[in-house]
Every structure is written in structure tokens, then in C-alpha cells.
């Protein structure tokens, strides 16, 4: 299935992505310059004098012009060196390696939950369009969009963790310590994050299914005597696959952004917290590195989505 054509497509998409990634880091770097405040002051500490602050600027080469600093960061990044945190001297690559998988696990888990809960809800609603069941499910799904993640996370923590003792209230375990443990710690954060996804998946699925069910070819199949169940399964779902995939792909981006607040509620050392702290303190190597990692991920996810499109629906031709 991996034809030369497909490989060529993948390669060209990756090449196109490169300037996008560079541009993203440049935009982020420029934005950071606009933030008032001076990391040299933070680094100099509580007892700093003006001379000490100037000294720190010399020491860490913070007084070089904007483009020179960005240029040297880019040059190093291209060679694989993302630098070290200005504040803690931890290599940025290590920070990302340590925090990103944590966040990705929770995001993936949240998306799985969104699909596992959202798809059945959508099918259920579509099975009786226009009924009370349908509007009921869709209303509950809408709640999912409006409920704030951090509030819901705190409710879950108070009820399921502190109240019923079913899950830990804070913290994180890495899959290295056992996949079961990792998932157990990640459940409440993932639940807090998946509300939006459930809403989107179920709504999308429901409207696509309803649309298909009233389409020409389904009516033909019906006339041929196929049961509604097999129509739904064999033909309906396969056709909505593309829409569903699109929703999931967009959901990934949204959920990645939303993890920041959930990380705070559950004290999870993920990339969201790392970025927020770095931005607040002006620690730009960490911000740049993390942004690069996230941009790369989004690009890869989009690429995978595009490839899956062609698998699901051969009618879609990729240039």
C-alpha cells in the first residue's frame, strides 16, 4: 500500500512543513521580545544590584541584538542542539523528553475516551433522529463544550479521588513504571479533558450518519433488503470515517492546548506547565524548543491523517 506515489507525497509534505516550523519559532521568539520584563533580573536573584544584572546579561549573552540571538539559536537547533534552560541549566532536549510524553499520554487517552464515548452517543442519537433521545443526547454533548476543563477536573478530584478514593488526586506515573499505573494516574486528567471531544465527536458523527442515512445509495441498499444494522455498520460508518478522522485530528490540537490548565489542577509535570513557566519567566530556549516539538507533532499528526484519508476513501487523491 505504500506506493512510490504515497512516499513521494509524504516526503513533499515534510519538506513543505520545514519552513512552517521555522516560521513558527520565529513568531514565538518575536512575541517573547514583546513581553515586558527581563530574565536577567530574575537570574540575578533577590539581592541583585544594577551592576549584577548587567553582569548577568554579559554572562548569558542576553545583550546581543534580537536577530543574532535568534540566529544562533536556529543554527544550533538545526545541528540538534536546543540549548539549556537559562534558569535551571537543564538541557532543553531533556526537558522535552521528560515532559512531552507525559502530556501526549494524557492527550491520547483523552482522545480515546472522546471516541469511545462519543461514537456510541452519536450512533445512538442518529439511530432515532429527531426523537427525544436524540435531542437529549445532543444537549448533554453541548454541555461538554461549555464545561470548563479545570473546574471539571477539580470536581473529579474531589469526588472520585478524595471522596471515593478510586484514583489518585495528583501526580503522574510514567509507562516505564507499569502501563496500568500510568493509565490509572492519567484517568482523571483525561476525563477532565475529554468533555469537549465527546461533544464534537458525537455531534459530527450524528449529523454525518443522519445525512448518509437519507442519501440515495442507502435508500437503494434498504430497498435491496439489507437490515438497518448492517447498513449502519458496513456502509454508514465507513463513509463517515473521513469526517470522524478530521474531527479527531483537530481535536488533537485543541486538546494539546487545553492540557495546560489540567496539568495545574493535577500537578502533572507536562510540557504545558513547562511552557507556561518558561514564558512567565522569559526562559526563551525552553519556549522555543517546546514550540518546535509541538509544531512538529501537529505536522506529523496532519500528515498521518492525510495518509489515512486515502486508506479510508480511495476517492481522495493526493497531489
Amino acid at each position: 500500500m505504500l506506493t512510490r506515489k504515497k512516499l513521494g507525497m509524504i516526503a513533499s509534505r515534510l519538506l513543505q512543513a520545514l519552513p512552517i516550523a521555522v516560521l513558527a519559532t520565529f513568531v514565538v521568539y518575536s512575541l517573547m521580545q514583546l513581553i515586558p520584563g527581563d530574565i536577567a533580573v530574575t537570574l540575578a536573584g533577590e539581592n541583585a544590584s544594577d551592576e549584577r544584572i548587567a553582569e548577568i546579561r554579559e554572562l548569558y549573552r542576553l545583550n546581543q541584538p534580537f536577530l543574532v540571538q535568534y540566529g544562533s539559536w536556529l543554527w544550533n537547533a538545526v545541528q540538534g542542539d536546543l540549548g539549556v534552560s537559562l534558569l535551571t541549566r537543564e538541557p532543553v532536549a531533556e526537558t522535552i523528553a521528560r515532559t512531552y510524553p507525559t502530556t501526549l499520554l494524557i492527550v491520547a487517552y483523552a482522545i480515546v475516551l472522546s471516541v469511545v464515548i462519543g461514537v456510541p452517543l452519536g450512533i445512538l442519537a442518529a439511530s432515532r433522529p429527531g426523537s427525544l433521545l436524540d435531542s437529549g443526547i445532543m444537549s448533554i454533548a453541548s454541555l461538554g463544550v461549555t464545561v470548563p476543563n479545570f473546574w471539571f477536573g477539580m470536581i473529579l478530584a474531589l469526588w472520585l479521588a478524595l471522596g471515593l478514593n478510586l484514583f489518585p488526586a495528583t501526580g503522574f506515573a510514567s509507562p516505564g513504571d507499569g502501563l496500568g499505573t500510568a493509565l490509572w494516574y492519567a484517568t482523571l486528567p483525561a476525563l477532565a479533558l475529554c468533555t469537549n471531544g465527546i461533544a464534537e465527536v458525537s455531534r459530527q458523527l450524528r449529523s454525518s450518519l443522519v445525512e448518509i442515512q437519507s442519501s440515495q445509495f442507502v435508500r437503494t441498499l434498504h430497498a435491496k433488503g439489507l437490515s438497518p444494522a448492517s447498513i449502519l455498520w458496513k456502509h454508514g460508518l465507513k463513509n463517515v470515517g473521513v469526517n470522524l478522522l478530521t474531527v479527531i485530528s483537530l481535536l488533537f490540537n485543541k486538546t494539546l492546548a487545553a492540557t495546560v490548565v489540567v496539568e495545574a489542577v493535577f500537578a502533572i509535570p507536562g510540557i504545558g506547565s513547562a511552557i507556561v513557566n518558561a514564558v512567565l519567566q522569559g526562559d526563551f530556549p525552553v519556549v522555543q524548543g517546546a514550540v518546535l516539538a509541538m509544531v512538529a507533532t501537529v505536522i506529523v499528526v496532519n500528515l498521518v491523517t492525510d495518509v489515512l484519508y486515502t486508506v479510508l476513501d480511495p476517492r481522495i487523491e493526493q497531489a
Partner: protein
């Protein structure tokens, strides 16, 4: 579609009955409640797990800069001089004795049989290495603390003699802080910058690991020099910046202690039967830093009006849930250098404030450029102050931002703002506090205004005598000058609020406000 729905198409589209589904959920829940969690939290029974509010800036005492670092540093590094938890008076540490043969010489006699975590001996050479490094290394942030030291000499295997440029009795308590934290010279030389992340000291705990923003792991120093210490197998600091989450981690049993909590959480802690409330006064002081070189604040009467305009008792009740002490000067009541007479200078008196403003030519009120931080607690304090100020005709709005941002804007070269609502974390010795805030080139003196006459002499007097009563008198003069000239507007001292689980024994708060765990033990469950 008008036909009946196919009965095989059930709720999930799967062939699962409702009963089976509930059974599945039920058994998972049961597994959860049957101690499944307990086994999976693989915790060594004797490790103290502490919820900390901030990541350290560096685990090297000389290169770090945040007041929140000390809690991590104390277990790793002993200090030459220690301090009394309640009054902050000095006590022997790695230096078991010290004396001033003359006002410009300080002799330290060191504790014997002490080793660093890497096995190298702690001796006079090590002390000399550390002090010189603190003075000379370009990355050292504490050079000014040892500014009076001219030379450090090894005058015996366990004796160090410091020659001073001028009399300096503050040095003793300075050596109870970062400058007195002793790191292994071998490690410093071999690791260089990497010592920031791999510290080696003589303290009760050895360093194991630091994951930024996540945790700092320490383990027991088996060869610690103090008998019967430490009492726990290790300490694991978990960085949990949100205070509600930090408290939750103790309630859920995932942590043993959480410190730097908020006064508003006290009822929650007291209500919970599994938690102990550990609280006490500290020298951490909310205050207005004034830039006296610009605008209306150049006039002492305006500054005095600010001081009279605030009902500090109400401030503590309204913004700190009562967990604090009104501050009428830079030191709290229990401090050894507190002066009650100075504290009486500014009772709450809005009429007096209005009269002073009128005298200064602002009978129609005055507009000030106010700065502050944007977190919830700070905003609440700002709202309180605005309300009080409005009553006497002081107008303005607070411009807010994050702590690093606003500190840099106010204290840094930009010098933005007439005053900044912030806090001072306090220093081991009061004369440090006054030097850091009011000397002409002091960082916290944003306007770089020279102090009033008499200040410098009194400050130097407080540093040149070892007699504590004479020091107290000199510091009283300093404090009186500060408050009569309204060089600052102190608001309130914050109480330390910590929560500890029932297993924790001997957790006490201290006046410095930076928790220490050296005497803490864990009961067997």
C-alpha cells in the same frame, strides 16, 4: 424512516446487555477500593514527601536567586551558623564557636569529624574555598553579602580567620544563610556549572535527582555528623505550584507535608481529621516599595499619609483570612530586634492622612502610578488598598503583570511606577533588611534616593558591636528613621501555613518562614 428500530441495535451498537455493562463498571470500582491504589503507590515508608510551591532556581547556594530555594538547600547544606526557630538569634552550626578578637577580625572554630557527601573532609581549607568562591566567582549572586571580607585565612585545621575591611557583626547571621552553606570543594572544582544540578554538601540529606518543575529527590546521609539525625530515609519534594492542588495531595495521602499554603485553606485543614495545621508568624512582609525620586512620593507627608490611610488589622482579616500580623515596621513582634515604640508611629488615622495631603498641597487628592502582580491574592490586596486610599483622596489604578515582569519593570532599569505592592521575604539579620532596602545603591531602593541623615551611622553601629543589646538599640534608631521618614509602607507579616498528615511528627514553623525538616520523623502506620 417510520419502521420500528431493529431490536438487535442496542444502546452501544454492541451485543452487550446493560447488566453486563454495569457489572464491568462495578468490578473495576471494587478493585479500586480494595487497596489496589495502595500497592501501586510504591512509596518507601520512611520517605517524607513534601509538596513544594516552586521549582528551585539552582541547587547551588551561590548561583541561585530565589527566596524559595532555601527549603531545598537546607537538607543538603549545613550552614556555618544556625538560627533559633522562634527568634532568629544565632546558634552554633558547622562553626561550633566564633569570636571577634577585635572588631575587624572574625575567628571561626569548626566542628570536627564532618564529611561532605562525597567523602571529602570538611575543614578550614574547605571553608576558605567556599567563602572565596562566594566572593569571587562571576556566577555568585551573594558577593555583596561578604563585601566586608578582605581575606580568609586558614589558621588551624579547624580554624578560619576572616579579616574585615570594616567592623561587621552582621557576618555571623549572614553565615547562617547562603553564604554560610558549605559545598564540597572537590565537587565544585570537578563539576563547575553542573554543581547547580548536582549539589554536594554536608547536610542530613544527599542529592539524588532533580526533574525540573516536577520533583527533587534526596536520600538519607548515613554519615551525618549530628547524632540521631536524620530521622527519615529520604525527602522527596514534589513541585505543585497551585496551593489547592498541593493541599489535595496531602489530603489524599500522596504527600506528607505541604507548605506555603494560603490562610484561606486553614478551615479546610482544621476540619480534616487526618491533618495537622502547622502555623506560626514569619518575617515575610507584604509592603509597598516606594520610589521616592519621582512624583508626589518625593514629599514625606504624602508617604506618611499612605501609612496613616491603611487599617492594617482589617487588611489581615480581609485579605489574609486572619493568618497574619499587622506590620507597623519591618520586623514582627517576636523578633529580637522589634521596637514597640516605633510600631506606635502609624495608627490607622484617615483624618490625619487627609490633613497631611492637604498640607502637602494635595487638598483635591493625589494621583499615583501603582504597580502590582496579577495573581489572585495580589489583586485582592490591591482592591483593599484602593478602597482605603480612595477614602483619603489617593487615586490611581494598579497596573499588573507577572512577578518576574513587574519586578523587572519596577526595580530594573526601566523604573516604572511610583510604588509596587509586593513583599519582602526577610533576611537572617535585620541590618541586612535595612541595607537592602534603604541604602542609596540598594536594589530595592528603586529611586536610588540616599537615606536620611543618621541612618548610615546607626546602621554601621549596629554592625560594629557584638553586644546584642547595643545592636538592638542601634537598630531601633535605624527603624525609627525609616518609619518617621516613611521610606516604606509595611502592611502585614504573613503566617506560615503548612499542612502535615497525621504520620508526621515534630514539624514546626520558624520565624524565617522557610521550613526545615531536620527534626521531622514519620510514625509507623
Amino acid at each position: 424512516m417510520n419502521e420500528k428500530p431493529n431490536p438487535r441495535l442496542t444502546a452501544n451498537g454492541f451485543a452487550i446487555s446493560r447488566r453486563n455493562f454495569l457489572g464491568l463498571i462495578g468490578s473495576t470500582a471494587a478493585a479500586g477500593m480494595l487497596g489496589f491504589p495502595g500497592q501501586l503507590i510504591a512509596r518507601r515508608r520512611g520517605t517524607l514527601i513534601v509538596g513544594a510551591p516552586a521549582d528551585p532556581s539552582s541547587l547551588d547556594p551561590a548561583t541561585g536567586g530565589a527566596g524559595t530555594d532555601h527549603v531545598f538547600l537546607y537538607p543538603i547544606f549545613d550552614t556555618l551558623v544556625e538560627w533559633d526557630y522562634a527568634t532568629l538569634a544565632p546558634r552554633p552550626g558547622l562553626a561550633k564557636a566564633w569570636h571577634y578578637p577585635d572588631p575587624r577580625t572574625l575567628v571561626l572554630t569548626l566542628q570536627e569529624n564532618v564529611r561532605f557527601h562525597d567523602g571529602t573532609p570538611f575543614d578550614a581549607e574547605a571553608v576558605k574555598f567556599n567563602l572565596e568562591r562566594n566572593l569571587r566567582d562571576p556566577r555568585s549572586n551573594i558577593r555583596t553579602e561578604l563585601a566586608s571580607v578582605e581575606s580568609v585565612a586558614v589558621t588551624g585545621p579547624l580554624e578560619v580567620t576572616l579579616k574585615l575591611k570594616e567592623p561587621d557583626t552582621v557576618l555571623v547571621l549572614i553565615l547562617s544563610d547562603r553564604a554560610g552553606m558549605m559545598a564540597s570543594p572537590k565537587a565544585l572544582q570537578e563539576l563547575g556549572e553542573r554543581h547547580d544540578r548536582s549539589p554536594v554538601g554536608t547536610g542530613p540529606m544527599r542529592f539524588v535527582d532533580w526533574s525540573d518543575g516536577e520533583k527533587v529527590v534526596l536520600t538519607r546521609n548515613e554519615h551525618y555528623w549530628k547524632p540521631n539525625r536524620p530521622l527519615v530515609d529520604g525527602i522527596e519534594f514534589r513541585i505543585i505550584t497551585d496551593s489547592a492542588t498541593r493541599l489535595r495531595s496531602v489530603i489524599s495521602g500522596q504527600a506528607d507535608v505541604a507548605y506555603h499554603l494560603d490562610g484561606r485553606q486553614i478551615p479546610l485543614i482544621e476540619r480534616s481529621r487526618q491533618l495537622q495545621l502547622v502555623t506560626g508568624p514569619t518575617i515575610y512582609c507584604y509592603q509597598l516599595y516606594l520610589n521616592m525620586s519621582r512624583g508626589p512620593l518625593q514629599d514625606v507627608r504624602v508617604r506618611q499619609a499612605l501609612n496613616f490611610a491603611i487599617d492594617r488589622e482589617a487588611f489581615v482579616k480581609a485579605t489574609m483570612a486572619g493568618a497574619g500580623e499587622p506590620a507597623y515596621m519591618n520586623l514582627p513582634r517576636s523578633h529580637w530586634a522589634y521596637d514597640e515604640e516605633v510600631a506606635k508611629l502609624y495608627p490607622y488615622d484617615p483624618d490625619r492622612a487627609r490633613a497631611l495631603l492637604k498640607e502637602a498641597g494635595f487638598s483635591n487628592g493625589v494621583e499615583l502610578d501603582m504597580r502590582g502582580y496579577s495573581d489572585q491574592g495580589s489583586v485582592q490586596r490591591q482592591e483593599f488598598l484602593l478602597e482605603q486610599f480612595a477614602q483619603v483622596g489617593i487615586r490611581g489604578r494598579f497596573r499588573t503583570g507577572t512577578i518576574p515582569e513587574m519586578s523587572a519593570t519596577y526595580f530594573g532599569p526601566e523604573k516604572g511606577g511610583d510604588f509596587l505592592l509586593s513583599a519582602f521575604t526577610g533576611r537572617p539579620d535585620p541590618s541586612q533588611t535595612y541595607a537592602l532596602m534603604y541604602l542609596e545603591d540598594a536594589y530595592f531602593n528603586a529611586g536610588r534616593v540616599p537615606p536620611p541623615p543618621g541612618f548610615l551611622e546607626a546602621l554601621l553601629r549596629s554592625r560594629s558591636t557584638t553586644d546584642i543589646e547595643e545592636r538592638r538599640q542601634a537598630l531601633s534608631v535605624v527603624q525609627r528613621i525609616v518609619m518617621e521618614n516613611a521610606l516604606v509602607v509595611p502592611l502585614a507579616f504573613r503566617n506560615e501555613v503548612s499542612a502535615a498528615s497525621a504520620r508526621v511528627e515534630n514539624m514546626r514553623s520558624n520565624l524565617l518562614g522557610k521550613p526545615k525538616f531536620e527534626d521531622v520523623s514519620l510514625q509507623d502506620t
